[in-house]
């Protein structure tokens, strides 16, 4: 199916199942322990041994020697593979930066340098601790983003976007601010660590039961890393215990399990210990963001500059905090530039809403500061600078209702009743403040395929290598197929995550829901054609599929009678035409937050949150709500507590467990209110829906930060806004 023009009125505009609050299909399985995660796939391969990883104890340098004698002699040990046993394996894909295994060169702390395979987990772990490693560490390597920024900030770089004469416009602006904001590195901190069961057969085929968001990428990456035929690789990942981008790509668990299995001649399972997740895999890079805004006397932005600097391993792309600033607000002149501070921290790569999540932490605080400079209501300031075209590209937004998000949100939140003098509302021990922020995140779509199999009993089995990373894919694909085929949702079985299934979009960049449901719809359209043919029609036009029947004129045929002797299989994929790229397809939100800040201690507690989202058709209000409130929780963490602390001399994320990397707990999160605007975006896809998985995070931290300022009068420009950054500005005791 080619999606080459904007969707017209179609079956999804009279939905019976799509758009309904259908409960998560995987919910009961997960809450009762019947959804096996990768490490629990005990039944997929017999004779599983257990692997345990060893990570480098230095961040940069070389390994001189590894003594495995004691480890090899330890009880239960069946195989050991060390990084010195081979040359560096190829980097798995262009989207990876770090090598995952092999060679004597150490690029970052906890780089995988050995795997020990034993009969039990305890034996493998104990033996791993017996390996003695001699290093030649590079002295004087630097891991301090702020220090690197100071050195490079005055060196000119070619701007990514330069529209008009920013410098002149800024210099002549009636009002202006010039501020620098800092975000620290963050970890995805998903509950399920990376884990893989690997098994080779006698023909050199490998199967990897793993936890991954992008099955096709994983399959190709395994083939590239092991320099083998891609058709000899199978990847299976039906349940994923959270990903947030940390599982977009294969990591060393896949490589170590496969190497261990080959060496031991038996299947091997391996899960990353939590500290290893923090330092071996990927993180969201820290950023330093200089933002300059100039406006005319009425508050129209005449000049906007956003310069972002982030950390990355050499050759990587860091975190581009500037993307939203090219498109979000009307700006007569623009200057967008990025710098990369190369250093040997672990690999910086995508984490939920890469770019915007960090960039809006800067931009939305700057918008608040600019509004204050102007003496304008921050909601009004954003409304004044609303735009229906991207100032950087000149492209029109396909559908943009950001102004409604702001005005309806302000109304619902009671924004007009807020205190406008920072630091002047107190209830007992608590200083009370309110903040607002806007949110913007593109809603891309990508080719996605599916296979539908109409069974003799009238049920349908859907197969696609799409993943459900806790987002609701199983559910919304079932809804889409049930809607398209006019069936009960109970009669639709969805199978995901197996590379033997048709290639899908996968889960990432909030493109999964739009793309994979469209792919399932494409397959259903093919099936409808085939059903039509079976009842003597050339195509499905004019046929009606409802209540488990297909109706042609006065003749109604139950689907159960269509393939009595077997199944009918139809497969197709959706391809999104270039017309979609002629528009800016994006999602928007406004977030409103009330905080209390303890006047004595500076502790910040969020008291109320409201998010108003503009994301096209909401396919399932329950799963979409879960995505947004989960994003809002992550935003509170980003604002107030989440920082993987860098030991800037050793290059180690030192608070590398879930006790010390503080994600919000239940007690931190108040009642969260989410409103979805009833919008449709026919340019986005046949279902006129857009992504919400990343939108829910965007802008939240900025709203919290602005509320903290409103409460205290202290403007903390370095996230996370912990109490030590507020103490000096709190009322005297």
């Amino acid at each position: 199916m080619d999606f080459n023009t904007a969707a017209e009125t179609n079956i999804f505009d009279r939905p019976k199942i799509l758009g309904k609050a259908v409960p998560r299909r995987d919910g009961p399985l997960k809450t009762t322990g019947r959804a096996p995660y990768a490490y629990e796939r005990h039944d997929v391969a017999e004779g599983q041994l257990v692997g345990y990883p060893l990570g480098s104890a230095i961040a940069k340098g070389r390994i001189l020697s590894m003594d495995t004698e004691a480890a090899r002699a330890a009880p239960g040990v069946r195989a050991i593979v060390t990084t010195l046993d081979m040359e560096a394996m190829p980097v798995p894909s262009e989207m990876h930066t770090a090598h995952l295994f092999g060679g004597d060169k150490v690029e970052h702390y906890h780089q995988a340098i050995a795997v020990v395979v034993a009969e039990t987990f305890e034996q493998a772990r104990a033996a791993t601790a017996l390996i003695k490693v001699e290093y030649d560490a590079d002295e004087g390597a630097e891991f301090d983003l702020l220090a690197a920024y100071e050195k490079m900030k005055d060196t000119p770089v070619d701007p990514e976007v330069s529209k008009g004469d920013f410098e002149t416009a800024f210099a002549n602006a009636a009002h202006r601010i010039d501020r620098t904001y800092v975000t620290t590195p963050q970890n995805h901190a998903q509950m399920e660590p990376q884990a893989t069961v690997a098994a080779w057969d006698e023909n050199g085929n490998v199967t990897l039961w793993t936890s991954n968001q992008m099955i096709q990428w994983a399959k190709k990456a395994v083939a590239k890393t092991f320099e083998m035929d891609v058709e000899k690789v199978r990847v299976d990942s039906p349940y994923v215990g959270g990903g947030f981008g940390n599982k977009l790509f294969i990591r060393s668990d896949v490589v170590l399990a496969a190497l261990g299995a080959k060496a031991a001649g038996q299947p091997v399972k391996l899960a990353m210990p939590r500290p290893f997740v923090m330092n071996n895999t990927t993180h969201r890079a820290g950023t330093v963001q200089r933002i300059r805004i100039g406006t005319d006397a009425q508050g129209k932005i005449v000049a906007l500059a956003h310069e972002g600097t982030s950390n990355t391993l050499p050759g990587g792309s860091g975190e581009d905090a500037t993307n939203q600033s090219q498109h979000f607000y009307a700006a007569d002149t623009l200057l967008i530039a990025t710098r990369l501070a190369e250093m040997h921290l672990p690999e910086a790569n995508a984490m939920r809403a890469p770019g915007e999540a960090s960039g809006l932490m800067g931009l939305e605080m700057a918008m608040d500061e600019m509004a204050e400079e102007l003496g304008m209501d921050p909601v009004q300031f954003r409304l004044v600078n609303d735009t229906d075209t991207s100032p950087a590209t000149g492209k029109k937004f396909s559908d943009r209702n950001f102004a409604r998000c702001l005005t309806e949100g302000a109304e619902r939140f009671g924004w007009e009743n807020r205190n406008t003098t920072p630091g002047s509302r107190r209830e007992g021990d608590w200083l009370i403040g309110h903040g607002v922020a806007g949110a913007f995140r593109p809603s891309p779509a990508t080719t996605s395929g599916a296979r539908v199999r109409l069974q003799a009993d009238g049920r349908i089995i859907v197969e696609t290598d799409m993943t459900d990373i806790g987002t609701g894919s199983y559910t919304i694909i079932a809804q889409t197929v049930a809607e398209a085929m006019g069936m009960d949702i109970e009669d639709v079985e969805v199978r995901l995550g197996d590379s033997a299934f048709p290639v899908s979009s996968g889960s990432g960049g909030q493109f999964g829901a739009v793309s994979s449901t469209a792919g399932a719809y494409a397959a259903c359209t093919a099936l409808r054609r085939e059903v039509a043919r079976r009842i003597g029609h050339n195509d499905a036009d004019g046929l009606s599929f409802a209540r488990g029947n297909v109706t042609a004129g006065a003749k109604e045929t139950p689907l159960v009678d269509i393939a009595p002797e077997g199944e009918i299989v139809a497969e197709d994929k959706v391809k999104f035409g270039s017309f979609r790229k002629d528009r800016m397809v994006a999602t928007f939100a406004a977030h409103f937050v009330e905080v209390g800040v303890n006047a004595w201690t500076g502790e910040v507690r969020v008291r109320r949150m409201l998010g108003v989202c503009d994301a096209g058709r909401i396919m399932n209000p329950t799963t979409a709500l879960s995505q947004v409130i989960g994003g809002m929780v992550m935003g509170v963490g980003a604002a107030l507590s989440e920082e993987i602390a860098v030991d800037t001399a050793k290059g180690v994320f030192i608070n590398h467990d879930l006790a010390n990397y503080e994600v919000p707990v239940h007690a931190d999160i108040p009642e969260q209110e989410v409103v979805f605007l009833d919008t449709l975006d026919p340019v986005s896809g046949p279902l006129k829906s857009k992504g919400v998985g990343e939108l829910g995070l965007c802008g939240v931290a900025g709203a919290v930060a602005n509320a903290v300022y409103n409460a205290t009068g202290v403007r903390a420009r370095e996230y996370p806004i912990t109490l030590d950054k507020l103490l000096d500005g709190l009322p005297e005791v």
Partner: protein, 318 residues
């Protein structure tokens, strides 16, 4: 984790004797800290002596009107005890501010006192740590280190780790005494003030316990009344160790006791500071923090402690 042997013991003196005679033995009760540390090979005992069967799990009155808390009383049970809630509310509040419900159900009174620091450098065996590996250095004080959560007072060049307990801070304000039994069967009573040691040059030595010596109970003196509070300040609302905590007992005449958590290698209190309570938080904290040697990253704790005490005093006066 290293392989280890395991036994259950029947009586306290026998437990102590076994611990003294078996090389590299450790007691295990709730296991909420020890087992984690064993998995990471920070603790590497060769033998575990399970004391859960010793029956030391009762809370009973003492002759002088106080309470004797068996070493195996779980944190949840202790916090919920009616006598504790009524007569020693600072202790209930401190316990409920600690860990999580699941951990409090397992963690014991004696084990809580003996838990190890949460310094991140202690937890990463690739890092220098004098407490974990004497003589290896203190990575937490090296240039570039992350020390925001570490100690500011009572610390040394060898170690700036804090003691993580909330319970112990309240017990310190209450003048608790630790009762023990020795391998030879004799018993002794150690004031909690003397139980935890400052690191000095030997941060690996954390308590006054002798080899094999087993905690059997913690006793509290007769109730002192007054307004009692435990104020724990942290970056998130639950399941986090204190940046600063303040256990306060304040009598109507303004006298009382104050002990701090989150700032030192042991619950931090001194008599001179207590005497200054009527003069307010600034005077008390000047005394408690007089020998402070903070890092750039944790200097804020000094101000935070003063403001937290001021908050607690304000509430007590309210």
């Amino acid at each position: 984790m290293r392989a280890f042997s395991y036994e259950k013991v029947k009586n306290p003196a026998g437990a102590a004797a076994r611990a003294a005679e078996v090389a590299n033995a450790k007691f295990v009760a709730g296991g909420t800290n020890l087992l984690d540390l064993m998995k990471l090979e920070i603790e590497t005992p060769l033998h575990l002596i399970d004391v859960n069967g010793l029956g030391l799990d009762r809370i009973e009155g003492t002759d002088d009107g106080g309470l004797r808390i068996g070493t195996l009383v779980r944190n949840t049970a202790l916090a919920a005890d009616e006598r504790v809630k009524r007569d020693y509310p600072v202790l209930t509040r401190a316990l409920m501010a600690g860990a999580s419900g699941q951990l409090r159900n397992k963690a014991t009174t004696g084990g809580n006192l003996l838990q190890r620091t949460r310094c991140p450098y202690f937890y990463d065996t690739a890092m220098a740590c004098n407490k974990r590996k004497p003589g290896s250095g203190c990575a937490a004080q090296a240039p570039g280190a992350f020390s925001r959560q570490l100690g500011v007072v009572g610390v040394s060049e060898a170690c700036i780790a804090t003691h993580p307990s909330d319970m112990a801070v309240a017990m310190r304000a209450l003048d608790a005494v630790v009762e023990t039994v020795m391998p030879e069967g004799e018993t002794r009573a150690i004031p909690l003030a003397d139980f935890h040691l400052l690191p000095g040059h030997t941060p690996e030595v954390e308590t006054a316990l002798k080899p094999g010596e087993l905690i059997t109970a913690v006793t509290l003196p007769a109730p002192v009344g007054g307004h009692q509070s435990y104020t724990k300040v942290r970056d998130r609302s639950s399941y986090a160790f204190a940046l600063v905590s303040v256990a306060l007992i304040r009598q109507p005449d303004g006298s009382g006791a104050v002990a701090l958590g989150g700032v030192a290698p042991k619950p931090w209190r001194n008599a001179a500071a207590d005497k200054l309570l009527p003069e307010g938080a600034k005077a008390v904290m000047a005394e408690l923090m007089k020998d402070a040697r903070p890092t750039e990253q944790n200097r804020y704790k000094i101000k935070l402690a003063e403001r937290t005490l001021a908050s607690a005093l304000n509430e007590a006066k309210g």
